[in-house]
Symmetry: C2
Subunit: 155 residues, 2 copies
Amino acid sequence: MFKKRDNIKEVEEGKYLEPKFDENGLIPVITSDFKTGDILMHGYMNDEALKKTIETKEAHYWSRSRKSIWHKGQISGFVQLVKEIRIDDDQDSIWISVDIGNGASCHVGYRSCFYRSVPLGKIDNLEKVKIKFKEKKKFFDPETVYKDEPNPTKL
Amino acid sequence: MFKKRDNIKEVEEGKYLEPKFDENGLIPVITSDFKTGDILMHGYMNDEALKKTIETKEAHYWSRSRKSIWHKGQISGFVQLVKEIRIDDDQDSIWISVDIGNGASCHVGYRSCFYRSVPLGKIDNLEKVKIKFKEKKKFFDPETVYKDEPNPTKL
C-alpha cells in the first residue's frame, strides 16, 4: 500500500512515508495528549488503521485482542482527535498527538494508561518491585462504560 | 526474574511490577524528554535492560540490530538520565522520562527521532504520501560521532 522501502537514505531523510510493519503487519504507536504532553497509551496500527487515522483525523488502531480495526472511543465515547502524526527515523514507529477533550484513554478507568510509576534505585528482590499509583482516582467507572465487553488485558 | 503474572486484576491494579515481555523477550519503551515532553525515541528492553535502567538510572535498551544490551550514549556520549519510569495498565509497555541535557537522541543527528510529520487528510496516492521535516537542522554530525559504526536502520 504505502511506498516500498528500498533505500535506507530515503527512509531516514526522504520526503515520503514508507512505514515498516512488523512480521504481524503492525507498527507501534505512541499516543500523547497534545495539551499536557502526557503519554496516554501505547498501541499498534496496521496499514489500514494508519490510513484511516490520517484520513479521518480520528485515531484508529489494530486491536490485538479482538484482531480487528479499533476506532478508539467507539464504545466509550472517548474519541481521539488527531492533532499531529510523526514518524521516526527508520519509520518503524509512530507518535500521534491527540485531543481527548475532557475524556480519558485507559480501559481501567484512568486518564492515561501509564498511571503507575516504578521507583528507581537498587532492587533487592526482583519479584517484589513495588509500583506507585500516580493517578489517585479513576476518571470513569469501566463497568458502567464497557458493560459486558471482554477485558483486553491478557496474562 | 520479575513477579509472575497470574492474575489480571493484580496486573492492572496491583502494586507489583509484573512486566510482560513478548515472544522475543522484549517490551516496547517510549522515551520522552522530561523538560519539553517531546518524544525522543521508541525502543525495546529485555528484562536485563529494564533492571539496569531501574538500578543505574541511565537508560539501557535491547538493540535489535546488534542483538545486545545497549547503554544509550555509550558511543555518542548522549546518555539518558532517567527521571521517571511508568508502566501501563496491562504492563506490556514502558514510558521513561529522561534528561538528555544539551544532547540529542537520534542516530541520524536530530534531537528527537520523530523529526518528520505526516500531513492529515485525504490521501490521493498511498505510494506518494509526503512527510514534512519538523526539525530543520541536524544537532550533530552522525558521521563524526559514529564513525564506522553500522547504521541500525534496516529495510
